[in-house]
Amino acid sequence: MKKVFLLYFLITTICFAQSKDPNVIIKNLKDTFQKVKDYSADVDIKVDVTFLKVPEMKAKIYFKQPDKMHIESDGFAMLPKDGLYTSPLSLLGGEFTAIYAKDELFEGHNTSVVKIIPLNDKGDFILSTLWIDQSENLLCKVESTTKTNGTFTIILGYGNNKFPLPDNIEFSFNAVRLKLSHNSMEEENSNNKKDNPDSSTGKVFLTYSNYVVNKGIPDSIFLKKAKTSKN
């Protein structure tokens, strides 16, 4: 009898392990983020790309549910389009099929790995893989493949923020060779003639601080173009 019970227990455990509902995981993630109605934060940007030499930049980001975003900077700042994570909804827009893959320990988080396949061909995403910490319903890592920009990875780090907002983001991508029009005489005198490959991996590090959450942000802010204060 004991053996029967043990066998029954073993079988149900295995079945439960295989039957994690990815849609429930995604829904919990979204619901947790719904606690954040709006937020603003200072963001420090550090770019680490072979052919891009940019000083550390600062910007301020505003977000309001469901998808309003505005960025400001005292000077010049460049932020990665794909890596600018504002909410999980930005990655889970539109209809999709979710498949639970496995459980994985990722940077101290027990995460569930869920694959997202968009049902709509019109979007840029082909496939996304999400590492979701189910205990806290936090998105820890995203790996996405796009039609135009190849594959990129976003790793999110969280501090002691009571809201599901990251303290830092590491965005890794395949940087296609980007060119500006240039003067040919200037090119001839350049000292940086290196045999740079046409594609290169790159990283952008975003550090968020001074979060102000759920204090109300007027819609008028989001109507402005991404601005800077002119000197």
Binding site: K53, M78, N192
Partner: protein, 279 residues
């Protein structure tokens, strides 16, 4: 010697043709800056179109530094002409005016005369580049303000922070004075050979254009000759907009430019010293 230089400067600035360069810059640079103020965003968007596919840009790259950098690039071929207008006339102008014998019969050595003329020519070159810097940066600041500077060099896109730009421009303009000094020296040399200013002006410009064409053609023979052409170093001012700055190359270019100036002045002095004045 100072008195001689002052006299030569007085003679230079007494001629109307001296002001052609200053007037040309005073007209051209504001026209460029006004045009860029109105349409510059389109140019900038075009230049950064590939980068903007992957990145969101926040801020204004269209500022005085960007415009001044563009102007310095595009005028690096046209400024030599404005230099030769005056430098080519320094010695030949005396022959044309018939004043060679008048100045050479004074109790001043030929070396002092030729040196004072040459130094006055270099001072004019410095003043012209200074004027270019003031109009570009000054007017640009009033119209567009300051900001970060984005440049593309050797396959690398560089953005310079606001507080990391002005000193680079000062050094770049300084180097531009040096490279235009070579042009002035070349025109001065030809001026010692002839008795009409038109010849030195045209000859100097012809040499510059030929050297630039040779440098631009991608043939092995020409690429071998290229390091020996002074025009290969005229654009070296842009090395001050590198990260990190290649000090060795800048020093090398500076020494080559100084060597050219010294050599051309030496040759012009020798020719003038030995010249038999017949007019």
């Amino acid at each position: 010697m100072i008195k001689l230089i002052n006299i030569e400067l007085y003679k230079i600035f007494k001629k109307w043709r001296t002001y052609i360069g200053f007037i040309a810059i005073a007209i051209l640079v504001p026209v460029i800056e006004f045009a860029l103020q109105i349409e510059g965003h389109k140019s900038l968007d075009f230049m950064t179109r590939d980068l903007q596919q992957s990145f969101i840009f926040v801020g204004n790259l269209l500022n005085t530094y960007f415009v001044s950098y563009l102007i310095l690039n595009s005028l690096s071929v046209h400024i030599p002409f404005l230099i030769t207008l005056v430098a080519g006339d320094l010695l030949a102008g005396e022959a044309t005016a018939g004043t060679y014998r008048l100045i050479l019969t004074r109790p001043v050595s030929r070396m002092k005369i030729v040196s004072s003329k040459f130094i006055a020519g270099i001072i004019y070159t410095f003043l012209l580049i200074l004027w270019l810097a003031i109009v570009s940066l000054g007017l640009g600041y009033l119209l567009l303000g300051t900001g970060e500077l984005m440049v593309f060099r050797g396959g690398i896109i560089m953005v310079f922070a606001k507080n990391d730009i002005l000193w680079r421009f000062l050094l770049a303009y300084g180097f531009a004075v040096l490279s235009m000094g070579v042009v002035a020296s070349l025109a001065f040399l030809f001026s010692a050979l002839v008795e009409n200013a038109i010849g030195p002006i045209i000859t100097t410009m012809a040499i510059i254009i030929i050297f630039l064409i040779i440098s631009a053609i991608n043939v092995d023979l020409f690429q071998t000759i290229k390091p020996y052409l002074f025009t290969s170093y005229m654009g070296s001012w842009s090395m001050f907009f590198d990260k990190p700055i290649d000090t060795y190359e800048i020093v090398k270019s500076t020494l080559i430019m100084l060597g050219h100036i010294a050599g051309l002045f030496g040759l012009a002095s020798y020719i003038f010293y030995k010249k038999d004045i017949l007019t």
